[in-house]
Each structure stands twice: as C-alpha cells, then as structure tokens.
Amino acid sequence: MSHGASERCEPNLIPMLDLVLQLVMFFMVVSNFVMEQVNQTIQLPQAVSAKPLDKKDDYIIFLNVNKDGHVLLSGLDAQRNDAQVGEDKDKNLTNRVQILNHMKRLYEEDIRAAGGDRSKPPRSTVILRVDKATPFGDADKGVYAVMKACRAAGYERVQIRAIIHSAAPAS
C-alpha cells in the first residue's frame, strides 16, 4: 500500500481575524464615544425622576461643574476659550463673569447658526453636570451662579443631570 503525499491542514484564520478586528473597532468607538461630554471627574447625584435625553433635543450644551463651582472646559470649547480670553491654562471658568461671557459666546453662535432670528429662543438645551458635593451658592458662586449665567445669556431651557436611580436613597 502506498501512502499519498502528506497534506497540510490549516484552519482558515481570516474570518476569525475579521471578527476580532470588528470587536476591536467596537470597543475603540465605545470607549471614545462622548468622552468630552461625560467628564468622569464629576460625581453626579442620583435621582428617581431623572429622565433620559429627549430625542427632540438635537442641540445640547454640556457644562461640567466641579466641587468648587468651576465650569470645566474641554476640547474645542477650551481652545476657543483660550483664543478669546488668552488665559486660563487650567481650562476652567472660575468666576461668574467668565461663565457669563462663555455662555454669551455660545448663545451668539446658536443664534447665528439658526439664521440670526433673536425673537426665537436658542435651539440648544443646556445640561448642567454638577458634582454632588458642589454647594448651591448664590448669584456670585456655586450652582446658582452657573444657572443665573445661563439665564442671563439667554438660555431658558436648562436641565440638571443625575444618575437614574430605580429607588430613592434613604433620607
């Protein structure tokens, strides 16, 4: 009995490589998705009545506020702030005047993008991501100062972010 020439059997690795690359792309995209908007240094409080984002709200402005009541800028906002103000290397808005100027800039951009009609409210909704340890404050500092700056700049739709919780925490 003669033996035939030996044949090499190899599994086809190309489909496995294809799937693995798909998974890699998925995790790369998900880990970078809205990273600029979701600032992980801000610890949000919990709320039962918090509702997910409304799909009608296409234009959102996120403001991240830390424990000291400072508004944290990131990405394009930070670059724009540096260009306008020429300072603030920490990329934070530390007083109500800076916050108000920043919001007024955003308001003007909103109005320009919507065709310049000032009789209508701006198209954007402002969402405040405030650290749970930030004091409420007053018109000069704290959460209320940020709210007041948004209102003074012309934004009427302002919402506060919280982690959706199924049951209310103990009083």
């Binding site: 690795l13 007053d138 007041k148």
Partner: protein, 166 residues
C-alpha cells in the same frame, strides 16, 4: 539546462501571508480595550425653571392668559455646616398668611406635605419654589427637585434663601 530547472523552481513558489501574528496582535488589542472598558451609569435630566433675568436677550415666555393663577408653594430649606439638609418650612406665596410653617426636615416629610397640599388644590395648577441655603450641596438639591417632581410639580424653581443674593 540550468535555466530550465531555475524557471520551474520559480513557477513553484506560492506567496503566503502569515495571518497568525496579525491575529495575535489583534487579540492583544482586543484584550487591552476589554480591560480598559468602563461602562458609564445611565444619566438622565431633571428640568427646572430658571428665575427670570432682567435684560436677558430672549423675551419672557408667553404670558398665561388663563384665569387660573397657579398657586405657588415656597419651601425654605436650611443647610447644616456639612451642607446637608437642616430645617424646612413651607408657605404659600401671595397668600394672606405667609408665615412659614415648619415641616419634618426629611425628604419623605416634604413629599407627604406636598402631596397633601396638592390634593387640597383639586387640580388647580401649582408651582414650587425652593429657597435653598447657600451651603446645601448639590446632592441634596437634586433630592429636593426629585421629591418635587414625585409630588407632581413640573415647574420647580430653586433660588437662594436671601433675596439679595439672587
């Protein structure tokens, strides 16, 4: 003769791309992203009414021409030194008697009081204003807003206790 043998050897070569090292590196990348992946908790929003601002660009909202003027409840919340909930009292704005009445300084107490008051209104529109001590932390403010929404209020305005600091 050597040219003929060389040409045959050249025709027998088959190029082969080694996939295994590429697959190995892809698994390394995948493992990195899997271990560093942190799913963020689901976040939602609480709507609130901002105080009207003199001289702000946009006009005020469309005036309510209905005869039903909403009843405005005002809850005054004091803060402890640690920024937690202190004393609480309630009164009705524009009522004959605006003396604040103390309520139990807890979220459950506030919820019960608000539900009682709205039940007495029997469908009449109502608003809620929270006068908040400046030291109260955001976590407590959110709980207050949360309780207000659970009690059925959609128009909730948080403001500082001191009118001069608004």
């Amino acid at each position: 003769m050597s040219h003929k043998r060389g040409r045959q050897e050249a025709e027998a070569v088959e190029p082969d791309l080694p996939i295994t090292p590429m697959l190995d590196m892809s698994f390394q990348l995948l493992a990195f992203f899997v271990f560093t992946f942190q799913p963020a908790p689901t976040e939602g929003q609480l709507a609130m009414a901002l105080p009207k601002e003199e001289g702000s660009p946009t006009a005020s909202s469309v005036p309510d021409i209905s005869n039903d003027k909403p009843e405005t409840f005002v809850i005054r919340v004091e803060a402890t030194e640690q920024g937690q909930l202190g004393g609480m009292s309630i009164y009705v704005k524009d009522a004959a008697d605006q003396k604040p009445q103390p309520i139990p300084p807890s979220y459950d107490g506030m919820l019960a009081e608000l539900k009682k008051r709205t039940a007495e209104l029997k469908g009449k529109p109502s608003k809620l204003t929270l006068e908040i001590g400046s030291g109260l932390v955001q976590e407590s403010v959110i709980r207050l807003l949360d309780v207000g929404q659970q009690a059925g209020f959609t128009d909730i305005a948080p403001v500082p206790v001191d009118p001069k600091k608004r």
